[in-house]
Symmetry: C2
Subunit: 325 residues, 2 copies
């Protein structure tokens, strides 16, 4: 079987030059190209097309990895990603169970074998090791040890807004409740903004944090209210947890916002055009999706990793805080 080496020998060039001719690289002079092609002809050589196509063609596919597609924040995010990709004639591969890190790593392995043009990951695991410097990669909310492009929203300022709005609505005893991932990520700054702003306005914050996964939210909230029974204003670190808390309080006969005011974080819709009842700090989910794709396409086009994109958040008034006087 003829190899590239045989051709290189006959054409009196290096094997790299033969590869370049096969891959139609413009770096080879016309004369050299003719010599190599002549040698290929003499040796009856047919280049391995499969390898060549794999190497040169774009897959026109993006992979997105999220903790669960069965979750309004992530499904809204993916909805916007997919809508934008469609305009670009790209397809979307999805991994929706990355809450288990083994699943996520398997997926990352899989898509690398498969060939996608890039990955957007919303993950709180330690996948640094699996980031290939060759594959365009954009992270949402997460820092990595290596330089990685990422998009987040202004989590610190979101915390500040929550403190300000609860205090404007008469809250005196503030609390912060969170189930947190072990990996460092930007969402942890919600607490810092909340605490700093409260302090600057003369209030302390009681903080209750537990590591994920939370196996039983009833136990989680029982412990919280046992430790801090007298709070009248809460920032809950995401809408999902805030909604579970509302159901918990409803069962206990505690009225929201009369007895306690609650601000969630995310501002997601249950589905298009249908909001939750929560007062919340709203992340610009559509804009985050679009910014992530823009960063990713820049990387695919060979541009260097730019600065993180930090998008603004806003206050969404719902039914879980009192109206302003």
């Amino acid at each position: 079987m003829t190899t590239i080496k045989d051709i290189a020998k006959l054409a009196k060039v290096g094997t790299t030059t033969v590869s370049r001719v096969i891959n139609k690289s413009p770096k080879v002079s016309e004369l050299t190209k003719q010599r190599v092609e002549q040698a290929m002809k003499e040796l009856n050589f047919v280049p391995n097309e499969y390898a060549r196509v794999l190497k040169s063609q774009k897959a026109k596919t993006i992979a997105v990895s999220v903790p669960s597609i069965w979750h309004p924040f992530f499904s809204e995010f993916v909805f916007h990603i997919e809508k934008k990709l469609l305009q670009k004639d790209y397809r979307l591969l999805i991994s929706s169970n990355n809450a288990e890190s083994s699943v996520e790593i398997e997926f990352l392995d899989m898509v690398r074998q498969n060939k996608v043009d890039g990955i957007i990951a919303l993950t709180y695991h330690n996948i640094d090791h699996y980031l290939s410097s060759n594959l365009p990669f954009v992270s949402i909310d997460r820092y990595f040890k290596e330089a990685v492009a990422y998009v987040t929203s202004d989590n610190y300022h979101g915390g500040e807004i929550a403190a300000e709005e609860l205090i404007k609505r008469g809250c005196k005893n503030l609390g912060y409740v969170a189930a947190i991932a072990p990996q460092k990520n930007d969402t942890l700054r919600r607490k810092d903004g909340f605490v700093d702003k409260a302090k600057s306005l003369g209030f302390d914050v009681d903080i209750f944090q537990r590591y994920e996964p939370i196996l039983d939210y009833n136990v989680f909230f029982d412990e919280f209210f046992e430790e801090f029974p007298n709070l009248d204003g809460l920032l809950v670190m995401n809408d999902q947890t805030a909604l579970v808390l509302l159901a918990y309080l409803d069962k206990k006969g505690i009225q929201v916002p009369r007895d306690i005011q609650i601000v969630g974080y995310d501002g997601f819709h249950y589905f298009e055009n249908f909001e939750t009842s929560l007062t919340s700090i709203k992340q610009p989910i559509k804009e985050m999706a679009e910014a992530a794709l823009n960063l990713l396409f820049d990387l695919i086009d060979g541009k260097p990793i730019g600065d993180p994109v930090v998008l603004p958040v806003s206050f969404k008034e719902g039914k879980t805080t009192k109206p302003l006087l």
Copy 2:
């Protein structure tokens, strides 16, 4: 350039036999195989690997097309599909904007070019024309002119259950409210079951149906209550519409279930482990996803199109109907 024909001639076999040897088919005797390989060697033949791989290898990818991934029913459905695919080491391509038929058709074209092993579509468009008999295809809820594998749940019996449960809870004036797709599909049978069961129990049903898309649900419900002001028990054709109705009634100061009892249809969760407040007819979403995949993998394995799979539904008691006495 050596072709398969040249090899067949030299080896004194048919071109099919040469193909089989290239594709490592077990249907070739060891002796024939050796003769073909000898001819390939003599003619210095390297098979076109790309074509071979494309022909023989599975893409190990499934495409799913849904009206919107930003919707609890579809995201729950896709969540279960993806979980099952992962176990099989398959990837999931997703199209989430098939509410616009042009988008869906573009996607179907795209995935056919691309190469996926099969498609699951939850669609209410007329895509009959785009169904290739070669590509394994499973539909959810939809009939097609051509024979197509499909999965649905027992929509007729779901309607019956709703009538029975509303009447048991004291309703006298029943209504059915639906926004419907123009294409014939199994979900239309919810109305039939509801009406038939009510009749058999001595009650009439007022029916209000409009074709999708509904541009303004306030107008939709205004018209409904203008036409039928005295109803006390409703089956709404899906949870999404029922939830929008609840918000509408809340604004109007009409109390549910005191003034009017409401049964939705789907029984979806907003996210994992978090239900809506609706009383609803629950479809077995996970089982439907798994049945669709089983049908699809049967087709991929070359089995013929089997009978439709119809899965049972159940009554989910929420807060929008009165408790039984």
